[in-house]
């Protein structure tokens, strides 16, 4: 019995520590990412892509609701499915409140990732996740706006893989860049950041 109490106490302390670190990173002195590499606001971007259903999409598709955007490619065995699984978990955690959050996976490998490929790939993750692809110059345009980099790299077997920025980008409903969630950042840090992007919408609606 004592042992159970001890475990419970340790658990409570761990939760406290996690909450504190979360606060530190989100709102506290640890907030804000490297200046100069911040994404432009969506309102300052110009790009035209195609979603998984073949519809034309652009910055205007995202502005009006908070957005969560991630770059990757479907031939990616580790980082991309991990991130899409993480995103699915964050959306599940927030629940119905997150229903309006635009959640988009954008390929940096348009040569291989067709509309059909993107449609099938995103169907295995949270239903809210969209998959966008487009012409190489349009992918380059959106990556530039987000300050995202990507690069084709030869793999051992004569094929290629893509190095790419792996963070998740958050924007509020006005299209203002809020923050990024680092690759594989734990849920207890990621969820408050998403809530922050969503909160800005509420504040705006009330004012």
């Amino acid at each position: 019995m004592m042992r159970v109490a001890k475990i419970a106490a340790i658990g409570a302390a761990a939760v406290f520590a996690a909450l504190f670190v979360g606060w530190w990173q989100v709102d506290g002195p640890g907030a804000d990412s490297a200046p100069g590499k911040r994404s432009l606001p969506l309102t300052a971007m110009e790009f035209s892509l195609t979603d998984q259903d073949g519809r034309d999409v652009g910055p205007e598709t995202l502005i009006g609701e908070p957005s969560l955007v991630f770059f990757g490619f479907t031939y990616c065995p580790d980082v991309c499915p991990t991130t899409l699984s993480d995103i699915s978990g964050w959306l599940d955690e927030i629940g119905p409140d997150a229903e309006d959050v635009n959640t988009v996976f954008i390929t940096v490998d348009p040569d291989r990732d067709t509309v059909e490929t993107m449609a099938e790939y995103v169907s295995y993750f949270h239903p809210q996740i969209q998959g966008w692809t487009g012409l190489p110059d349009q992918i380059a345009a959106i990556a530039d706006g987000f300050r995202v980099t990507y690069e084709k790299v030869e793999a051992e077997n004569g094929e290629y893989t893509m190095n790419h920025t792996a963070g998740v980008f958050l924007f509020d409903a006005t299209g203002r860049f809020v923050t990024t969630i680092d690759y594989h950042e734990p849920l207890e840090f990621a969820v408050p950041k998403i809530r922050r992007a969503m909160q800005n919408r509420t504040e705006r609606a009330e004012s």
Partner: protein, 160 residues
């Protein structure tokens, strides 16, 4: 015999305490029981043109240091261990890993965001619900064949 039994009891009680399904903590041991592989899993693949990824934990219960030096799998024309790295600009890349040294009593996890078993040139798709054999190659000549269950594309860990 007794040692094996004790170990089984131990892993059973650990799994029970943590509330994990038994399947995920199933251990696969080398012949001399000094190398233990736990919680292997792979993500289902989208057809055969994309590389597959698998994960597992290796424990060295022997008294000598060992290195995990490679992989072999019938399902893959080219299986190797890859390391994912994310640089200070947040750019991720993956590359073949160096030999993985595991000291006596130590463990090493291939897990999302770190190391993965990279299964290139898939000979057949990785289908959710199925399993496939994967052989781990060690520096002391040990070749340990394990059975890897295939989970969904959206799986987050050995529990799905």
């Amino acid at each position: 015999m007794f040692k094996t039994f004790a170990k089984a009891i131990q892993s059973l009680s650990v799994a029970f305490l943590m509330g994990l399904p038994m399947a995920s903590s199933a251990q696969q041991l080398s012949e001399n029981a000094s190398i233990v592989v736990e919680s292997p899993w792979a993500r289902a693949s989208l057809g055969m043109s994309r590389p597959g990824g698998a994960y597992l934990t290796v424990r060295n219960e022997g008294s000598d240091q060992i290195s995990l030096i490679g992989l072999r799998a019938e399902i893959s024309g080219m299986a190797s261990i890859h390391e994912t790295r994310t640089n200070s600009d947040g750019v991720s890349s993956m590359a073949p890993a160096d030999d993985i040294v595991i000291p006596p009593g130590g463990m090493f996890a291939l897990e999302p965001g770190g190391y993965h078993a990279m299964l290139m040139q898939l000979q057949s798709p990785l289908v959710e619900g199925e399993t496939f054999p994967l052989t781990l190659l060690f520096s002391d000549g040990t070749e340990l064949e394990i059975t890897v269950p295939v989970l969904g594309i959206g799986a987050r860990g050995p529990e799905g």
